[in-house]
Symmetry: C4
Amino acid sequence: MQHKKHDDALRKTTYKVIFHTDTPAGKLFDVTLLIIILVSVLVVMLDSVKEIRDDYIDLLYAAEWTITIIFTLEYILRILVHPHPQRYIFSFYGIIDLLAALPTYVALFLAGTHYLAVIRALRLFRVFRILKLSKFTDAGSAIAIALKNSKSRISVFLYSIFIIVIVIGSLMYLIEGPDHGFTSIPRSIYWAIVTLTTVGYGDISPGTDLGQFIASLIMILGYSIIAVPTGIVSAEMARMNKTNRKRCKVCGCEDHESDALFCKNCGESLSSD
Amino acid sequence: MQHKKHDDALRKTTYKVIFHTDTPAGKLFDVTLLIIILVSVLVVMLDSVKEIRDDYIDLLYAAEWTITIIFTLEYILRILVHPHPQRYIFSFYGIIDLLAALPTYVALFLAGTHYLAVIRALRLFRVFRILKLSKFTDAGSAIAIALKNSKSRISVFLYSIFIIVIVIGSLMYLIEGPDHGFTSIPRSIYWAIVTLTTVGYGDISPGTDLGQFIASLIMILGYSIIAVPTGIVSAEMARMNKTNRKRCKVCGCEDHESDALFCKNCGESLSSD
Amino acid sequence: MQHKKHDDALRKTTYKVIFHTDTPAGKLFDVTLLIIILVSVLVVMLDSVKEIRDDYIDLLYAAEWTITIIFTLEYILRILVHPHPQRYIFSFYGIIDLLAALPTYVALFLAGTHYLAVIRALRLFRVFRILKLSKFTDAGSAIAIALKNSKSRISVFLYSIFIIVIVIGSLMYLIEGPDHGFTSIPRSIYWAIVTLTTVGYGDISPGTDLGQFIASLIMILGYSIIAVPTGIVSAEMARMNKTNRKRCKVCGCEDHESDALFCKNCGESLSSD
Amino acid sequence: MQHKKHDDALRKTTYKVIFHTDTPAGKLFDVTLLIIILVSVLVVMLDSVKEIRDDYIDLLYAAEWTITIIFTLEYILRILVHPHPQRYIFSFYGIIDLLAALPTYVALFLAGTHYLAVIRALRLFRVFRILKLSKFTDAGSAIAIALKNSKSRISVFLYSIFIIVIVIGSLMYLIEGPDHGFTSIPRSIYWAIVTLTTVGYGDISPGTDLGQFIASLIMILGYSIIAVPTGIVSAEMARMNKTNRKRCKVCGCEDHESDALFCKNCGESLSSD
């Protein structure tokens, strides 16, 4: 029983080191893990460059397996020390952690290893775990809240974009036709998106005078309506800086910053009691 | 007479189902219609892709006619149940609904069916009907009001863009000339728009040193003045977030800040009692 | 003397019609002039399109001379009826009006008429005269004031852009070299501007791995720092919507909209007496 | 000793002229230096243009040496008159000043002079010294503060961009493959950055239908999320416009709104008496 108690204590300590960052050991663990994750992503990338793969195939292979084994051990350890293993396994991070280790094993049985590159790229999502615990969380959630509050406005905006590019894509298909690369309506819509978003590859570009005229209109439209999502998010973020609309009991002033504790006009406390 | 009454009741119920979405039956009708509309737009698109048209011509033909008949029946039904049929027929949505059904019939008598693709693409506008009734309306009208309030500022901005591209287009026509693709002033203006809006196809690009220098200036100009429409819309949206639309009982003014207790125009209390 | 008086009255009436728009006759004159100006700009443009010039040379020639004579007569008339002719002649609009008429006469003595196209394009500036008097003035001056207030911040921003593109241009010249189109530092700077402003023609694009890596950094930089001028102008425009910082004598509240006449908190008049 | 005193006075005067701009002599010195710096940057640029170097090699050589000698003398003078020479030498500007003079001497012993062009381009940083003292400082520091306050939010944004382009780059590498220019994951990531930032060179562009569909999604994503950094900076700048930096005497808090009369943290009066 003494033994079990000791095990339990070890488990708890390990849990804290692995799942939290507020202890020095936890921080060290997370930073080490972060570096391994970045290295693992780098290995996937370099593996896709033909010249590097040809020259360093053994080194990449060794790195791949070393990382996979580290990730596997870490995954097993996380399951062992977590108070509710099944909760961890089916959590977002649990799945990502599994996906980070799995592809290399699968590759043993499959020929086209490079099809696993995307799944291996999912490893990068692991980095979020570390960031989740840092000072970036506040900033991240501020952005997330602003976007969430603006969701319906942004949906309307995207929906309008969607209709505009379909109508203009169809129109350009008729005006330009297959001779200038507008071989079908979907491809014309692709061109309309390339143009409206001001990307402008130039792989397809209008050749007729009328086509160039309409293209000009879309460009100016795209250039101007970028103001809409920008305006939505800017206004929302400005509003969030000012969310404390507690009315001061003395002077009635309501225009306080979100972190204000006292009324800026009369110095009265803004606490609600 | 009993019969007529029954007819009237049926007509009213059908009217509610078709024209409103606040009943379960109305919602179901609208969602079904939305799916048919999206399918109809998809059919038009796929029909324009040569490989798909060649392989699935019969299927597309069948889908086209099925959708057309559904739209025709729906259009007739809308006329029958509407309390003021002529009001519906000449409304914006009435015309769109007619245009959604008509092209297929017209194609029976005309050879070049693909010229009807654009009109058929107008079907997408039908989707607005459904959105009109949903929670997107508020967001949509907020954007619309912000744009309307900014209308004169945006007009001045677009007008300035218009003058800038004409002057720069003319200038580049002289500097670069036909050798580098600047074959005429309208084409040079097209290039100026492509550049100022930061689209940058690359189908026409300056070849001379002076031309590249002037092009650089336009790019930086275009990159900077995007701030103007963005600033206009952002400021307007920020202002709208702080505005309540309580109507002053004395002067009728409606544009008050959200925390205002008294009308800014006449000093009258805005409290609703 | 009676005759002179009558002349004077005529002169005054004509002056009002030509220089002001607040009478029906003045409005009619301005709208007519606006149309002639737009036609004159159109003629210059069409004249530059080879196919159109070849086919309609006589028509364009006739239109050019008709417009020139109208502009000449209008210019003379403006001088005759203006109370201080020399003041008009040397004003901004006086010079533009002269430049609008002159090029066609100069072309009589010069061979390369197309070099006058740019000067003729200056005619478009004439349109400002009409807009100056309309409701657009307020919006235009609001934008102008916002830009003026942001002048020093925007200068710092442009100056930073200027340094960034020179440093990066020099760097890319060394990395990519003449083989990939980076033939000189000025050309590399041109490329850096094309990239930073997100125009991206593709006439010059990095070919080496290091070059593409650095290019990626500039793109993300350019994509992010667009937020700076936008933020400057947005904040300035938001501030302008709120410029009336009169402190209410009763409650001390200072947060009023620019057109507020009464305090929003206590209904007290904000007039300064 | 009299002599030493005179030397000291001279040294102090020279120090003021060289290191400060608030005297007429100091201003003249700075403006002259600014012009020499700009000329020196121009010489580096022109030297990289093959045609100009071939024709004016002697002139450029002479200009290069003249500027180098001026910079050398200025550097020595700055060391001599500065009260704490070593502090100046190891300051940011001290290093820049040294780097501005050094490359030409190094080029005496090295063949490939053009590799020094970038270091010579660093001379441009010298211009900051002059701007540091002018009215641009306020504007510059306002921008700097806004960016600093937004640092964590912008980091989260950039980090998200980083993950998005890696995932999409990996995905496109699989979909498009080497045939359409997506030869490796790093190159696909380069393409994803080119697309997401709306630069759109067109040196690599998707050829398959699925690739074009995914590309469309990234473009719309890139077009929309530009709103995020813009919103962050706009909101921050709007907040700064409303902030005075009066320091509360009790709690030391400095971040108050411009119309605040009492500290928002402790309710203490902010009046300065």
